[in-house]
Symmetry: C2
Subunit: 121 residues, 2 copies
Amino acid sequence: MTVNEIAQDLVALCKTGDFETPGQKYWADDVVSVEPGGPPGMDPVSRGKAAAAAKGEWWAGAHTVNSTSVDGPWVNGDQFTVRFHMDVTVKESGQRQVMDEIALYTIKNGKIAEERFFYGG
Amino acid sequence: MTVNEIAQDLVALCKTGDFETPGQKYWADDVVSVEPGGPPGMDPVSRGKAAAAAKGEWWAGAHTVNSTSVDGPWVNGDQFTVRFHMDVTVKESGQRQVMDEIALYTIKNGKIAEERFFYGG
């Protein structure tokens, strides 16, 4: 698959509300997943497929997703970006939040070698 | 200035329709500017402030800008992203085009060391 085909497939899956399959399908075993920050005590950098999946499971468990919109992809060489806009409720606090993120994916050998998330204000 | 302050200033300038000042203000002397591709015979990689400015001047001369919208920034560490949506007319052909791009900026020592453009569509 080309980088563009992977990008299109990832976006198509996310648009159906499936944010798990893209990782399982495209993360490299040694994927590095980088958040700008994280909750206290949580490393913003997850290394390896298991750690990236654990982060996703923690997130899914901690939030109720009210609605999402996914835009993109935008492609350059072996990298592409996707915009995620999510209306969520934090389960613990009941607080409703809007999350607006750009994800930057770097593809090597047909797999996601790195994903890096940028947060909007 | 912090990366976030540079990002906010760049976006604020672009929102006024001023796409020249951010480069003059924030490009490093050895900035690298990377397009996914380019017209035949044009290098997608511009190296140095003069080459980046020349690319901008070529672009501004070749297009009439009908309208623009600028979203962002989204920040992670020393990098940030901005979305540019432009309705332009190619002067030579008269053809109207919508350009939808994400720009990824990397800041070093308070200057843009690299800018990398991702194309949508």
